[in-house]
């Protein structure tokens, strides 16, 4: 496989000043991810994300011992070691993160209103409101969010749902997210979504022109992608499932009306049953 050649793909991009009202997000270009995990470290450092002692283990899979996104890992570098059909060994790396869905399932099901869309159009859990009901956990179609349990260093955060905040505090202070700032290859880019989508499209064209047909965009469409749009888009070098991502994610909360419809029909049947019982019982 061709090594990426030529000048770095994003030479002149400016650091964006986040402003309230902007639609901000991430573009993660996995073709230039080197798997250094600086994003994971920067995220943990800035957000004071604690270590769960059971996390210190070897997964025996690849150069990845983080494994997945969860309450204590808000960035996760997937590291895939793959042997292609022609016998060549390939490394695929991609830094995964919360998708900050526009129709966010976690937000929709949250009963307390703890999860909300911020003025930057990102999805954030209010730590002082969440009561740990756990509904957001199976709602998320990406398995991003989970409840922090049994952490010793920050016990006050145990029992609360946790995930990437897209560095809400940094954005409010006019800074870019810690992971994007730490990324040495500009694989993680931060900015207004329309601009990121355009940038992703240009990068895809360049890669295809270089003959790298396997490159593809993920969650980059402006049209309906099952989430009403995503705040994190990706450029991947293989099928999404290779990186542990669902091919066509759809938020379950879109089907809520038909679920209540079924519940109403079932309730109607029970009313009929009770009515029948009493009229039959009178005989």
């Amino acid at each position: 496989m061709a090594v990426i050649s030529g000048p770095p793909p994003y030479p002149g991009e400016q650091v964006v000043q986040p402003r309230p009202g902007d639609e901000l997000g991430f573009f993660t270009d996995s073709s230039i991810c080197i798997g250094c995990k600086a994003c994971e470290v920067a995220c943990k450092q800035w957000n004071d994300v604690p270590v769960d002692l059971t996390d210190i283990r070897f997964l025996n899979a690849s150069y990845d011992n983080t494994g997945e996104l969860d309450a204590n890992h808000w960035r996760h570098v997937a590291f895939v070691e793959q042997r292609r059909a022609d016998g060549e060994l390939v490394w695929l790396m991609n830094s995964d993160v919360c998708k900050h869905c526009k129709e966010a399932a976690c937000l929709d099901v949250c009963p307390t209103g703890a999860i909300f869309h911020t003025e930057f159009d990102t999805v954030v859990v209010q730590q002082d409101v969440c009561n740990g009901c756990g509904y957001c956990i199976p709602a998320c179609p990406f398995g991003v969010i989970s409840r922090r349990e049994g952490v010793v260093s920050r016990p006050e955060t145990n029992g609360i749902a946790q995930k990437c905040t897209l560095c809400y505090d940094r954005l409010s202070g006019g800074l870019e997210p810690a992971c994007a700032q730490a990324c040495p290859t500009k694989s993680i880019q931060f900015g207004p979504l329309p601009e990121l989508r355009a940038r992703a499209g240009r990068r895809l064209e360049t890669l295809h022109a270089e003959g790298r047909r396997e490159a593809r965009l993920y969650l980059a469409d402006e049209s309906d992608n099952g989430l009403g749009g995503a705040g994190s888009l990706f450029l991947l070098m293989d099928e999404p499932k290779t990186y542990g991502l669902p091919e066509h994610p759809v938020v379950p909360t879109r089907r809520l009306k038909e679920m209540w419809g079924a519940a109403a029909a079932a309730a109607g049947l029970v009313v009929a049953g009770v009515g029948l019982a009493l009229s039959a019982g009178r005989r």
Partner: protein
């Protein structure tokens, strides 16, 4: 390797709900439909049945809040459940339904108790009204829990979203009928026995339909930790309903049939709640919520920007 997704890791996180939630689902269903049966019996002039079901409903209701609070990650913040009323969240809607139901049922029970002590003409319509409200709210109380689990990305729940409310409604009706059949003498319990059998049949039929429509995903009801409660539910509910039909007029038989149906109803909730985590863990390298044909790629819905 790509068939197994990313090193065999599931796409989804398994739900973390504890057994308390299964017991709550059962008690909520019992309380909700008992209130309905009680009010209907009151309208039909069957006072014994009305009274027994009302107190059954109240007893079941008392168990609900502690179970719900125990399941939270931060139980001391339980009151945040009523911080907002959020129509997009079945859990929020359910919390308000439970609260409203509790208030109405409390009023109905108070009215009934006062009635027993000393007939109070003026308060009677108020007690009747509260009873009616409780009966009405009992319906969403018994079924919202099915909507709650359906509204997740867990395949075995979400793909059963059209059948689960019928399973829960049937199971709730069966338990309400069964409880009353055990408490009320045979001459007044015919409607309760009918409801117990009706609910059991609805539950069993809906489970069959659900498993058929789930296809291979239905395996989570036949293997793993959900298999035992699923089998127990089918066996007890079926046998209990048969027994109720055959000998429900005789009190000892009615009582044992009732116990079977009640236990079967509880086992059903355990089966559903246990199938979820297994299904989430089994979702490896696949889509979970299936897109409808033509759904993806359409122009995005207009969204209000904040």
């Amino acid at each position: 390797m790509s068939q197994r997704g990313y090193y065999g890791r599931p796409v989804l996180k398994p739900p973390v709900w504890t057994p308390e939630v299964a017991i709550y689902f059962w008690l909520g269903g019992l309380a909700g439909i008992s209130a309905l049966l009680s009010f209907a019996a009151r309208l039909a002039g069957n006072q014994r049945l009305a009274r027994a079901s009302l107190f059954t409903s109240f007893a079941a209701l008392l168990g609900c809040p502690p179970l719900l609070i125990a399941d939270l990650g931060r139980p001391e913040r339980f009151y945040n459940m009523l911080r907002v009323l959020k129509p997009t969240s079945p859990m929020s809607v359910g919390s308000w339904v439970l609260t409203g139901f509790g208030g109405a049922l409390g009023g109905a029970v108070l009215g009934e108790v006062l009635e027993l002590l000393r007939p109070l003409g003026v308060l009677r319509p108020l007690g009747f009204l509260a009873h009616g409200v409780a009966a009405l709210l009992g319906l969403p109380l018994a079924t919202y829990t099915a909507v709650l689990v359906s509204d997740t990305s867990v395949p075995v729940w979400h793909e059963a979203r059209h059948q689960l409310p019928f399973v829960f409604a049937g199971s709730a009706a069966a338990s309400a009928g069964a409880a009353a059949s055990a408490l009320v003498p045979a001459e007044d319990s015919a409607p309760a026995r009918f409801l117990a059998v009706f609910g059991s049949l609805l539950e069993l039929a809906s489970v069959t339909l659900m498993e058929r429509s789930l296809g291979s995903e239905a395996r989570h009801y036949h293997e793993g930790s959900a298999a035992l409660p699923a089998q127990v539910a089918r066996l007890l509910t079926g046998t209990g309903a048969l027994l109720m039909v055959a000998g429900g007029r005789r009190r000892p038989i009615a009582v044992s049939a009732s116990a079977m149906i009640l236990a079967g109803s509880l086992a059903e909730r355990f089966a559903v709640l246990r199938a979820g985590p297994a299904s989430a863990r089994g979702a490896i390298g696949q889509d979970t919520v299936k897109a409808r044909p033509g759904e993806l790629g359409r122009p995005a819905r207009a969204r209000e920007t904040r």
